[in-house]
């Protein structure tokens, strides 16, 4: 190799745009779980397939658990705050950010005691609850609230207040959950007067019911990228069959042109029996079901004028 080429290589190495990039364990865990849980492998020899199924029944590998065993003591990543540092129980990572502290989940499958231990080590009165969720919500923050207090929604965070005090919890964006509200993390004031309850999503174990189901057309979900609005029930059934998705329930769509949500339309009061839903009805939207590869359909005899 000549000096010219060596010089170019040295130059490139010195100006590597990704030299600072470190993998985020949270994103890794979610990605691994999604890949193993939701990706169909190329068929191989029958014997090999049987072996794999057999092993799956004997060893229910939860990718999250495996991934969580290789967390780094310090997780550097591009962010506004300082480096993320693991808490003593290694369940959460914290980064000081001015008067706030950014919090990320490192082990979404940890015992709640370990979250409390990590929060307590930073003097934060936070109860972190992890709920089994559908793939697009795994590793994301789903809710912030406080018992007995009012939570006011703001674009960049949540204000939790009573008649005496007010705490601002900032949100850390960067996630995409379709039409659901979810965030990558949370930033908590160092002088939090709390207590605050934060709900995060974790991957469901095999056969486990989702407590929080995401937008079924969001990334990683059973109908990723599919637009069902204004297709007939018959057409949607065909699409669902192709994707091995089942229908958990049907809901009656709110009457139009009134707004579907603002007038308090409670879908649970408008459940339709499957036999009463003709294939000619129009699908207005789909909700994620409570089990893997299941959805609920909102239907009406007319097409919607506001497809989502």
């Amino acid at each position: 190799m000549t000096n010219d080429l060596k010089q170019l290589k040295s130059l490139l190495q010195a100006h590597d745009p990704a030299s600072h990039v470190r993998a985020d364990p949270v994103a890794m865990s979610a990605a691994l779980d999604d890949i193993i849980g939701n990706t169909t492998r190329t068929p191989q020899m029958a014997k090999r397939r049987w072996l794999r199924r057999h092993l799956l029944t004997l060893i229910p590998v939860t990718a999250v658990l495996v991934a969580a065993t290789v967390v780094l003591p310090i997780i550097m990543q591009p962010s506004d705050g300082g480096p993320l540092v693991l808490g003593p129980a290694k369940a959460l990572a914290f980064a000081r950010n001015g008067d706030y502290i950014d919090v990320r989940i490192v082990d979404p499958d940890a015992d709640p005691r370990r979250y409390r231990e990590d929060f307590a080590a930073h003097g934060l009165n936070v109860d972190l609850q992890i709920k089994p969720s559908s793939p697009s919500l795994v590793g994301t923050m789903l809710s912030v609230s406080s018992p007995g207090k009012v939570t006011i929604l703001h674009q960049d965070g949540r204000e939790i207040k009573d008649q005496y005090i007010s705490d601002w919890i900032k949100i850390i964006g960067g996630t995409d959950c379709g039409n659901m509200w979810c965030q990558a993390g949370v930033s908590i004031p160092l002088n939090l007067r709390g207590p605050v309850v934060i709900i995060f999503g974790r991957a469901a174990r095999p056969g486990e019911r989702y407590e929080v189901a995401g937008d079924p057309t969001a990334r990683g979900e059973a109908l990723e990228g599919v637009d069902l609005a204004n297709q007939t029930v018959a057409e949607v059934k065909r699409i669902l069959r192709q994707r091995h998705v089942t229908i958990e329930s049907y809901y009656e769509a709110p009457p139009e042109p009134s707004s579907r949500d603002l007038h308090g339309w409670n879908y649970n009061e408008h459940v339709l029996q499957p036999v009463s839903v003709p294939d000619t009805r129009y699908v207005h939207e789909a909700f994620g079901g409570h089990y893997k590869n299941s959805v609920s359909l909102v239907v009406a005899p007319w097409p919607t004028s506001r497809p989502r």
């Binding site: 170019l8 590597d16 470190r22 890794m28 890949i35």
Partner: protein, 179 residues
């Protein structure tokens, strides 16, 4: 070891390298998606992934995905922008004019290469692959890769001869699309 366990091990060992590969080519916005998609393909075709040395296979897959992404969005890759930005940021602070000129000449040479030639140089510089591994990623033989490197050296020599030319006389080639 089950497939899940060995795949998980491979994922944990090589995810960051693939993420960096994607970051360098398509920038931060799409890097994680490309990395995740690469491993998704690897899991789908896990029996075809070389167990002893999976990284070149993973880079090949990531390369195909980044090329598809760039073609689909009808955009250029992120290499020119990131290098140009880095050069401006560090170069002005630390270097005297001659060094800056040498850098610009070298980067101009890089930018003037064909996609495959440039990828070969980048794989050996940023990803640290040897010639045989880099050749496998761009889909050519080791001999072809060696010939391409020879061509790169010739071009470098040609451009570096012009180094004495004032920097201000040169056209800023880094901002131009190389696709």
């Amino acid at each position: 070891m089950s497939d899940e366990a060995s795949f998980t091990s491979m994922f944990q060992e090589h995810y960051e390298a693939v993420l960096r590969y994607a970051w360098r080519r398509v920038g931060p916005a799409d890097a994680a998606d490309v990395a995740a998609e690469t491993f998704k393909v690897a899991w789908e075709k896990y029996d075809r992934v070389p167990q002893d040395q999976p990284l070149p296979w993973l880079y090949t897959t990531a390369r195909n995905l980044t090329l598809n992404l760039i073609r689909r969005d009808n955009r250029r890759d992120a290499i020119a922008d990131s290098l140009s930005e880095d050069l401006t940021r560090h170069g002005a602070e630390e270097d005297h004019a001659a060094t800056l000129a040498a850098r610009q000449a070298a980067l101009a040479a890089l930018n003037s290469l064909s996609d495959a030639d440039r990828e070969l140089v980048l794989l050996m510089s940023w990803e640290g692959l040897d010639l045989r591994q880099a050749a496998a990623v761009v889909g050519c033989s080791r001999a072809t890769a060696a010939m391409r490197l020879h061509r790169v050296r010739r071009r470098l020599r040609h451009l570096l001869v012009e180094e004495s030319q004032p920097i201000t006389d040169r056209q800023p080639s880094l901002g131009r699309s190389v696709i």
